[in-house]
């Protein structure tokens, strides 16, 4: 057992390096920073890491590592707060958690959902750390087995989750995913750099639409607007039902689900270049596929929380394997981590694993300790923090509008970010209203870029092999690994298609006439047609094929749906419209008046800059929408603005400037 003979002494040495008061101190600093950054929707690992980078230079390596790892390790833990409590994915790793976590919060079981999630995170994190310990010594050939065709298969496996998340009317799920894929193609093409939809006259679109904005627009805005219209607390009963101890029991009852999902998380995390964007969806899909009773998924099944949360923390351990062995980042935050390592004087790569194994293993220990501390702290806090769901939502909403606007602006620091946020928010509201699967849309969007890139690469590389001979080509694409992944994809699609109808956000079908759903369908089809037309004008084949094919599929699906709409009566599920009944339909506040608050904030920002805009917005909102006295409204507004200014200051972030700032020089933070 060569492996253990190498690993054990180094592990022991590493433990003694980590268990020093100074290292523990920095680890805890990292954990606390990670928890505070992760809890805010739209800000994740990169924002947190860039906060500590300036301090790394000249720092003692183990301390610096402990701080960075503490921070990275707890982000997928703390981002669960906003996913469960507010229905806003805290980061890409927690998108799937929203599906069942948020309905649980609405039922008044937020504490239960949170503690189950944190327990799963803790467990998943430990599995990840354990896997890292050994894989770091042996995973090299394993990682090299993932050739481009194999990676493409994993991406398609992720896309196949659309099948099970497609919703009540499958063809709508396909359209949602197609639309997501198309949205992902906007901007500069990965291969040849051709522009799609965008033009140099509108520079904003050249970089495409950022993930943060899509996540906030598709999930956060529709949910906040919908909750705001109810004018009550998130928990429908106004109180908390089951407590955090129930969540721990739930986790224990589903321990095997947690084990499976954690292993899945490690496995997907290890494949370089895929990162966290798919892992929670695949975990959620598998959780549903393997569950016996599927009737509650999407409406608050605790297993829908345990699955993805076990996998997204395990993924961090897995993701460190390629990062450390090859020096290749699996995600944006890993890239910053490598940069941080360099500031500490280490170059990630085979050299470091071989010659500094003890130091490398301090990462393992830091990871394990951070998960125990971080998740443990979160479990203890979950009962208290869950109370936010019992507060009247109208008092929370303006702060959320402020935070998501701020977070969206950080993605590229242009006013276009705010416009894009509103535009995607509209799309999110309509997707939700007309029952198009938002998860399917998001999966499509998140995987779009990689799918296209990998298809192009496979085409090129396999093409050159096939030119040398048919067998050479087949040897390359039809490896045992790709074939087994193919089988898995087929099974996943077949199982998914059969079970999709069980997973839905709303159990009831509300319909209210044919006109509105029909108009939205025609709008999607018109966009798809335009995307196809736009792409057909591109010179480079590699840059045009993907949008043309995806757009055509979306159009054909749209045609099928159109046919169904023409033939079926107006109460067919195809005409689902949340405005026609249920919570939204009977809400005391109208859709447009709720949404106009956000639009107001954005317009004010464009005019006066963010800080002045937020001050006016908060004050007026608390006075008019929430009906507080001027005095209380002023106090609440001041608290909110004070918080965001403090946040921007400590993260070193800038605020959106407005037209006013162009004509007048103002002091910080007004500039």
């Amino acid at each position: 057992m060569d492996l253990i003979a190498t690993a054990l002494p180094a592990l022991e040495q590493a433990l003694s390096l980590v268990l020093q008061p100074q290292q523990i101190f920095y680890l805890i600093v990292g954990i606390l920073l990670g928890l505070s950054v992760g809890i805010l929707p739209g800000l994740g690992g990169i924002a947190g890491l860039s906060l500590v980078l300036p301090f790394l230079f000249g720092m003692e390596p183990v301390s610096g590592l402990a701080m960075m790892i503490g921070l990275i390790a707890v982000i997928p833990t703390s981002d669960t707060f906003s996913s469960v409590l507010l229905g806003i994915p805290g980061s890409t790793a927690s998108q799937a958690t929203v599906l069942d976590g948020f309905p649980l919060a609405k039922k008044g079981e937020a504490a239960r959902a949170l503690s189950a999630a944190f327990m799963s995170s803790l467990f998943g994190g430990l599995v990840g750390a354990f896997a890292l310990t050994f894989f770091i010594l042996i995973a090299r050939p394993l990682i090299l087995a993932f050739t481009v065709p194999a990676m493409l298969m994993v991406i398609i496996l992720g896309l196949s989750m659309v099948a099970i998340l497609a919703g009540r009317v499958p063809v709508k799920g396909i359209m949602a995913a197609g639309l997501g894929l198309l949205l992902g193609t906007i901007g500069t093409a990965g291969a040849g750099g051709s522009l799609r939809i965008a033009s140099y006259d509108v520079p904003y679109l050249v970089d495409g639409i950022q993930l943060v904005i899509v996540g906030l627009g598709i999930y956060a805005i529709p949910e906040i607007v919908s909750l705001l219209r109810q004018d009550q607390s998130i928990s429908r009963s106004g109180g908390l039902g089951k407590g955090w101890l129930d969540g721990l029991r739930d986790w224990w009852r589903n321990i095997w689900l947690s084990v499976r999902s954690a292993i899945l998380g490690v496995a997907v995390g290890i494949i370089p270049g895929l990162g966290g964007s798919v892992v929670d969806w695949i975990a959620y899909g598998f959780t549903v596929q393997t569950a016996k009773d599927k009737s509650k998924f999407g409406q608050g099944d605790i297993r829908g929380v345990i699955g993805p949360e076990s996998s997204n923390n395990a993924k961090e351990g897995g993701g460190l394997v390629p990062t450390l062995i090859f020096g290749i980042p699996g995600s944006g935050s890993m890239a910053v981590f490598i940069g941080g390592l360099a500031l500490l004087g280490f170059e990630a790569g085979p050299h470091m694993v071989r010659n500094n194994l003890d130091l490398t293993y301090t990462i393992v220990w830091s990871l394990a300790l951070a998960n125990v501390f971080g998740a443990g702290l979160c479990i203890l806090l979950s009962g208290q923090i869950a109370r936010i769901t019992t507060i009247r939502f109208t008092l929370i909403a303006p702060y959320l509008f402020m935070i998501i606007t701020f977070a969206a602006f950080q993605s590229s620091q242009r006013l276009g970010d705010l416009v894009a946020l509103i535009a995607i928010g509209f799309l999110g509201i309509f997707l939700r209203r007309f029952d198009y699967s938002r998860p399917a849309f998001l999966i499509g969007y998140v995987l779009s870029y990689r799918t296209e890139n990998l298809i192009n690469q496979v085409y090129q590389i396999a093409g050159s092999r096939f030119r040398r001979g048919f067998e050479v080509g087949m040897e390359y694409i039809a490896t045992p690994l790709t074939l087994s992944l193919l089988v898995l994809i087929v099974v996943s699609v077949v199982v998914g298609v059969r079970q999709a109808k069980h997973i839905r956000e709303s159990a009831e079908v509300y319909t209210g006439g044919k006109a509105a759903p029909l108009v939205f369908l025609l709008a999607i089809m018109a966009y798809s047609a335009y995307a196809v037309y736009d792409a057909s004008g591109i010179m480079r084949t590699s840059d045009k094929m993907f949008p043309i094919i995806v757009g055509t599929i979306t159009l054909v699906s749209g045609a099928f749906l159109l046919l169904r709409m023409v033939r079926k009566p107006a109460d067919d599920p195809a005409f689902m419209d949340l405005e026609a009944g249920g919570e939204d339909g009977n809400a005391p506040v109208g859709l447009w008046s709720a949404l106009s608050w956000l639009i107001g904030l954005v317009l004010l920002s464009i005019a006066f800059g963010f800080v002045i805009a937020a001050s006016i917005f908060l004050l007026v909102f608390f006075r008019v929408a929430a009906g507080l006295s001027w005095m209380r409204a002023a106090v609440m507004a001041a608290a909110g603005v004070g918080f965001i200014v403090f946040l921007a200051f400590s993260l070193g972030r800038v605020f959106p400037p407005g037209l006013l700032q162009e004509v007048a020089r103002l002091p910080w933070p007004l500039n």
Binding site: L53, L56, E60, V148, G192, Y200, G327, G332, R540
Partner: protein
């Protein structure tokens, strides 16, 4: 908290501060020093790239050595392949020394190519420091016996090369391969050179290049196992602007030497001139720190004093070698010279590259 660990060179700081103050006597009070100010070191890239690393390395050193010891904060303005941030910088009129800007090869290339996104003019800016880097091209081990220091025996081979895009820094290797007469198909869409190396390691690509530090830490082990064969380094520039061997790899021929030895390759004419222009902008003068053109002479002098001081500290060579490789960090006239070479191209050479991009890769910049 960690900044106080850099205590070495404190006396140097005191001297610098005094020097800065002395200069400031004749200048407006604001240029005397930067005490109590925060300098924004803006880079047109995200937090995760090589430029972020480079800027993070310099920020604390600048903070320590600039007269008045201002806080130096790295700020990121990514987008448009770095043109968004550069366009932003071009509009700034900050004249109190609280703004400096760090470019990279990917800021220089679109400028040289006349990319329509470019609304900045390098001639408006004042260069302060230029950092060079280098790289090594290598070949799959199974082609080892066809490599004899020239590309003559490789003319009938077919190569796949994982590339980040023909208008990125990869323009330099792709053009070099073309000059050597190699039949190379770039597989576009790899994210970073690390991804390209992985493609090589998996046997999907058979030609690759890495920057010096990645070559040493990740490719040299492959060379030792016979899996890879080093071809050449891109080279470095001497004081007169001639291409010489890379100081990190003194035993390895430069691309120029290999080109001279290869029958199909010529080191004169418009093609070579084009390669040389982009090579300079992409490697020996890759990253440059600028002040806005609105900065006063006193301010420029104040920065130059601080930078001279930084380079003079005893452990600078050691620190920068660990972080940036053993390449010269140029200031003063050397920086100005590097800036000039990295931002100038003849119209013929530019047209040659534009035609090549269009004919070989169907890439049109408009």
């Amino acid at each position: 908290m960690a900044l106080n660990t850099i205590k070495t060179g404190m006396s140097a700081v005191a001297i610098a501060a005094a020097g800065g103050a002395g200069l400031g006597l004749a200048a407006p009070a604001s240029a005397a020093d930067l005490a109590g100010k925060t300098v924004d070191f803006v880079i047109p890239f995200a937090e995760s790239g090589g430029s972020a690393r480079w800027a993070q390395f310099f920020a604390p050193l600048l903070s320590e050595h600039l007269p008045g010891q201002p806080t130096v904060v790295v700020r990121y303005r990514p987008g448009g392949g770095s043109t968004t941030g550069a366009n932003w910088f071009a509009e700034q009129t900050t004249d109190d020394g609280t703004l400096i800007f760090g470019t990279s090869g990917s800021t220089q290339f679109p400028y040289l190519l006349g990319d329509p996104r470019v609304r900045y003019d390098y001639n408006d800016w004042i260069p302060l420091l230029a950092s060079g880097t280098g790289g090594v091209a290598y070949l799959s081990g199974d082609l080892a016996d066809k490599w004899d220091g020239t590309a003559d025996n490789l003319q009938d081979e077919f190569f796949l090369y994982g590339s980040q895009g023909a208008t990125s820094l990869d323009l330099v290797p792709l053009l070099a391969f073309k000059l050597l007469g190699l039949d190379v198909e770039p597989v576009f869409g790899v994210e970073g050179r690390g991804d390209g190396r992985l493609m090589f390691e998996r046997g999907e690509a058979n030609l690759d290049y890495q920057t010096s530090s990645a070559y040493i830490s990740s490719v040299v082990p492959m060379v030792e196992q016979g899996l890879a064969v080093p071809l050449f380094s891109w080279g470095a520039l001497d004081d007169d602007g001639n291409i010489v061997r890379d100081p990190t790899f003194p035993d390895m021929p430069s691309f120029k030497e290999v080109c001279e030895a290869t029958a199909a390759c010529e080191t004169e004419g418009v093609a070579w001139e084009a390669w040389q222009a982009f090579f300079t902008a992409g490697f020996p003068a890759q990253k440059i720190i600028y002040l806005p053109g609105t900065a006063s002479n006193e301010l420029v002098e104040l920065y130059r004093t601080g930078l001279r001081d930084m380079l003079a500290r005893d452990d600078f060579a050691e620190l920068s070698a660990a972080e940036l490789g053993v390449y010269p960090q140029m200031i003063g006239d050397a920086a100005r010279n590097a800036h000039r070479l990295a931002t100038t191209i003849s119209p013929e050479a530019k047209q040659y590259v534009l035609d090549w991009l269009r004919d070989d890769y169907q890439i049109v910049l408009e």
